[in-house]
């Protein structure tokens, strides 16, 4: 395709400069061909060209990992581009540090605030500001001019007052004397003690003068912020902290503001307030870039939208001339066929039923909000959503790692007519369950263990003579991981942050293998024989590249670390396997190894939950996809039928009517039961 054939919104600013095009507004920032790579593999931005006009709000839209934040960090001086040009107000610049960025009047408000908790808001805003240079001589002159005249005036006034018979002790005179004293002191210091002024210059004490807070209040009032600058940061809510960050940037004279996902931490009312402030700033002539995932916000606030996908600039369009559908289309792109094997689930039955589950995080925000769904054995349930929409908390809640969670998690252990083993239950549990009538003999009689001694029971269990009547149903609510394990529930979980949770970086592969199983047995010593065998098996089967099984896992590459973790979690032959972003940072081959492992588990009738960020993978691998948006379920859909566009839309907005897809067999069964 020739450049000239491109739709108008796709043409780069460079094109316009070459072929001529009358700009409506002056450009605040222009990026030309920016490329940034981390290492040799990850290209965060590839040849991105975009521009920001003066006095507009530009949204930067894109999925996770599309390079939005990297691009903005390059404007703000946190990173430097590998190649390409940054042009600020028509002048090519090199921005090496945030200070450089400030010198160009560019300020960025990061997602994680950078404030000193123990300082007041005003202190935080003034912090780090340089005192303007001044010469001692001129400062002296200034003081003398300011106070010298006042001193003379006051002295003559005083004399008049005394000569006209006024008493030296009446209030007016006393106030005057106080003023006079101050003026005298000032002029005295200025004229006689040169070193004091000099000293002041060095320790910058007059830089901390109180009138600067007043000046600050001016900025605050101009934009209509409602905030008390004398309060300490630790007393403030998240939205107030954000306001302080914005004021900080404005006070330092930034004309170009970059906000990195400012709405992620705010309530709807606070978002509205923020938007009105942003509009006000735009009307004052500031140029604003706002990074966001949420389409409705993009439509509400921005003048233009710039869409990035996988590090590349897709388009910049006028908000008024587009709609949410078109934007989603640009954001997710065309479907790519990945050729991942996918069979129809065999006999899917609910394994885990989650009902009205809510999770409150440490900051007291509800991150998972009344979520209900089933996970069936023999399927891969994908969980889609923009990261930070509750996926992590949902999985941790199921695994028993979240303290504050509500709702029921009901586990169906498919045990009907299967023998009970000591692998799952100990003697005491078996006795208690037998008393409640959980078991039957192979001939169908109910098991009664009251008259049998322990030896006999052990023999019966070992001979597999005690069978379950029904599937075991256990509520996992408020259980710790250890309790879940002790109940004999094989719930495997591959967390997102592998080396921080799941593995111990400084330990060898063998020692990591026994994390789940080291408690087994009554010995006070750990048994490394089995873990070693397991480690060698995993190294061999999954082709882990490592010099030996005694190497600390921290030294392995990301893909190999993931293989070790997934291998361990699968080795316990789980009933439920939850994996969070298992292929993040992995190369193609390792990714396919992981997909195959998950498919194997699916064939073994394991309920697999796959949290992913790449929609193509989710569409190719999973049977059903659950979409989370802001902690709500915005739909459970058939992965074979849904389109990427639909998913993208569900990820950004919760529809009024939430679709819940279920397998045909289950539906039929339910209707049968209903009749």
């Amino acid at each position: 395709m020739e450049r000239g054939d491109w739709p108008v919104y796709r043409r780069s600013p460079a094109y316009f400069r070459k072929y001529g095009y009358k700009m409506e507004k002056k450009l605040a920032i222009e990026l030309i061909g920016i490329t940034k790579a981390f290492g040799t593999k990850v290209v965060a931005n590839k040849n991105v060209s975009m521009d920001l006009r003066e006095g507009e709000i530009l949204s930067v839209l894109g999925e996770n990992g599309s390079g939005k934040t990297t691009l903005m960090n390059m404007i703000a001086g946190i990173y430097t581009p590998d190649s390409g040009k940054i042009i600020v107000r028509g002048e090519e610049v090199v921005i090496k540090s945030p200070i450089d960025a400030f010198n160009h009047h560019i300020g960025m408000i990061h997602q994680h605030f950078k404030l000193v908790d123990l300082f007041t808001a005003a202190d935080n805003i003034l912090l780090g500001e340089r005192m303007p240079a001044y010469s001692v001589r001129e400062e002296k002159k200034r003081i003398r001019e300011a106070f010298g005249q006042k001193k003379a005036e006051l002295e003559s006034k005083m004399q008049e007052h005394l000569q006209s018979g006024g008493s030296s002790s009446d209030p007016a005179c006393r106030a005057m004397r106080k003023e006079l004293g101050k003026a005298r002191r000032k002029t005295f210091f200025a004229s006689h003690t040169r070193w004091l002024v000099k000293c002041g210059k060095h320790i910058q004490f007059n830089h901390l003068a109180r009138d600067r807070v007043k000046k600050l209040q001016g900025t605050v009032d101009r934009y209509g912020f409602n905030i008390d600058l004398t309060r300490k940061i630790y007393d403030m809510s998240v939205s107030e902290k954000q306001t302080v960050e914005i004021i900080k940037v404005l006070y330092r004279g930034a004309d170009i503001l970059i906000l990195d996902e400012p709405t992620a931490v705010l309530t709807p009312q606070e978002i509205e307030k923020l938007f009105s402030v942003l509009r006000k700033m735009r009307d004052e002539g500031k140029s604003i870039i706002i990074i966001t995932h949420k389409l409705n916000e993009v439509m509400a606030i921005s003048d233009r939208v710039c869409v990035l996908r996988k590090g590349e600039h897709i388009a910049t369009v006028e908000t008024a001339q587009t709609n949410e559908k078109e934007l989603t289309d640009m954001m997710v792109g065309q479907k790519i066929d990945l050729n991942i094997k996918r069979d129809l689930p065999k006999d899917p039955r609910p394994r885990l039923q989650i009902r009205d589950m809510s999770v409150v995080n440490k900051e007291g925000r509800t991150v998972v909000n009344r979520v209900s769904f089933d996970i069936c054995g023999g399927e891969i349930l994908g969980i889609a959503g923009i990261s930070g929409n509750g996926q992590k908390e949902l999985l941790e809640g199921i695994a028993g790692l979240q303290q504050k969670s509500e709702g029921d998690i009901i586990f169906h252990n498919p045990k009907k007519d299967r023998p009970v083993t000591f692998y799952h239950k100990d003697l005491k549990q078996i006795k208690a369950m037998a008393a409640e009538g959980f078991f039957h003999y192979p001939n169908g009689d109910r098991v009664d263990l009251t008259n049998r001694n322990n030896k006999e029971i052990v023999r019966l269990v070992n001979e597999e003579q005690i069978l379950f009547y029904e599937d075991e149903i256990i509520d996992l609510k408020d259980r710790t991981p250890r309790e879940i394990q002790e109940l004999g529930i094989k719930l495997s979980f591959v967390p997102e942050d592998r080396l921080n949770m799941g593995l111990v970086g400084s330990m060898s592969i063998v020692d990591n293998m026994m994390l789940r199983s080291y408690r087994k047995g009554n010995s006070i010593f750990v048994n490394r024989k089995r873990p070693k065998k397991l480690a060698d098996e995993i190294i061999h089967d999954l082709e882990v590249v490592t010099p030996s099984d005694l190497v600390p896992v921290r030294r392995l590459s990301g893909g190999n670390v993931q293989k070790v973790l997934v291998g361990r979690e699968i080795s316990s032959s789980p009933k439920v396997l939850m994996v969070a972003y298992p292929v993040r940072g992995l190369d193609i081959n390792s990714s396919y190894t992981i997909y195959n492992l998950l498919n194997d588990q699916k064939d073994r009738n394991v309920a697999v939950v796959y949290v992913g960020e790449d929609l193509d993978v989710l569409l190719a691998l999973c049977d059903r996809i659950l979409v989370l948006c802001g902690g709500h379920v915005s739909g459970i859909v058939d992965a074979r039928k849904v389109t990427k566009k639909e998913l993208g839309l569900m990820m950004t907005t919760v529809p009024d009517k939430v679709e819940t897809y279920q397998y045909e067999d289950l539906k039929r069964e339910e209707t049968d039961n209903g009749q």
Binding site: N73, S83, R482, E483, D497, G505, M507, Y518, I524
Partner: protein
């Protein structure tokens, strides 16, 4: 507008982290540092006193440490005491529980032992006094170790400050005991009966054997026991510990219990075997005499490895005793030995830096005429530090 395209001067040195450090390289650096520290000690001594020269320094140094068979046994006995104290704090450090209260815990062990001996010696059979005093030493020491652990488990208090302050409380309690028992005494409680040494056993062999047994025990405990495994999981990755369902609070308290027991043994040995007396004026003028603090360093330098700890405590004792001899011969005063140990520690601690980091000096730039100087190379991507984003 500020012109910021000017060439930024490259700093003279910059540091990079070494990723794969071979143990051989690390040990070579450590040995080098040890030799260097001795040389610096020698030079400092030569400057301080005209009586010391290069030859005599080393002569006195080795004489003080290995001069006679009696000196050698004393050296080994001191080594053993340091080793026991270091072993006590090691599991705590492995768990990233910064227990710097080894001093106070041993002090309380000595306190408990002295309390019993002072009250029961002569009134009870000797074996009963010995058994009781041993039990009291263990109980007091465990108490001193577990209280901060309970605070940590219950309210997540800062264990470093609490254990540090507990050291001083222990010393004050000791002083109080001495004042109560002997109001008009010399400030030192000397025991004639009720101690193990009064039975005529060799102090060297008891302490040495206890230390040897404990070293082996700790090595096995760390490496092969389930408890040891839990300790390293909790220390290395608290999140993983939560993930596999380890009860961190329980592990903390249990480990500190063990730490208290070992410190208690150390305290008992100091009073009942080594000194047959109890002194508690200050942290340096007491029965434990600051060994608890040195033990923290010993444990740290050995990277919590019990056998390596034997080596580091040997080095500390060697320098201490050798330097004491040099100081006596050259009349350099009492603090001289402490100074030499300080120099030694300075060098050894510095090695950790050189083992973990590589220093690059700025390469000398060839003289390029100003106009055709190449454009500055694109910067390396900054490491993704959480604090800088």
């Amino acid at each position: 507008m500020v012109n910021n395209t000017k060439h930024v001067k490259e700093p003279l040195v910059h540091l990079t982290r070494r990723l794969n450090v071979s143990p051989l390289f690390a040990w070579l650096i450590r040995i080098g540092a040890f030799i260097l520290s001795i040389l610096v000690c020698c030079i400092v001594s030569c400057i301080l006193s005209p009586k010391v020269n290069f030859g005599s320094f080393f002569k006195y140094l080795f004489e003080g440490a290995f001069g006679s068979s009696k000196l050698v046994t004393t050296l080994l006995r001191d080594l053993a005491i340091y080793l026991i104290l270091a072993l006590a704090v090691t599991p705590c450090f492995q768990m990233r529980y910064w227990n710097i209260g080894g001093e106070g815990q041993a002090m309380m062990g000595a306190f408990g032992c002295s309390l019993v001996i002072a009250n029961t010696a002569g009134k009870m059979p000797v074996w009963a006094t010995i058994a009781l005093s041993f039990a009291a030493a263990l109980v007091m020491s465990v108490l001193w170790a577990v209280i901060p652990a309970l605070f940590k488990a219950k309210w997540n208090t800062n264990e470093t400050l609490l254990t540090l302050m507990f050291n001083y409380i222990a010393v004050c309690l000791g002083a109080f005991l001495i004042k109560k028992v002997e109001p008009k005494g010399t400030g030192i409680l000397a025991f004639k009966e009720g101690t193990l040494s009064s039975l005529g056993v060799s102090d060297f062999w008891i302490i040495f054997l206890v230390a040897a047994v404990m070293t082996v025990f700790m090595y096995v405990y760390q490496k092969y026991s389930k408890h040891g495994y839990e300790i390293s999981v909790v220390g290395e990755s608290p999140n993983t510990a939560r993930y596999v369902g380890i009860n961190t609070k329980k592990v903390v308290i249990r480990t500190l219990l063990l730490c208290g027991l070992i410190s208690g043994v150390a305290g008992y040995l100091l009073v009942s075997v080594k000194d047959s007396s109890f002194l508690s004026d200050s942290t340096t003028q007491s029965t434990v005499a600051g060994r608890g603090f040195t033990a923290v360093l010993i444990s740290w330098l050995a990277h919590f490895h019990p056998l390596a700890m034997a080596l580091t405590s040997f080095l500390v004792v060697f320098i201490n005793r050798g330097a004491t001899q040099v100081g006596n011969m050259a009349r350099l005063g009492n603090s001289y030995a402490g100074m030499m140990v300080g120099i030694f520690f300075f060098f050894i601690i510095a090695t950790e830096f050189f083992i973990n980091f590589q220093i690059h000096f700025r390469a000398k730039a060839p003289a390029v005429p100003k106009e055709d100087r190449p454009a500055p190379a694109p910067e390396e991507p900054k490491p993704a530090e959480p604090g800088r984003e």
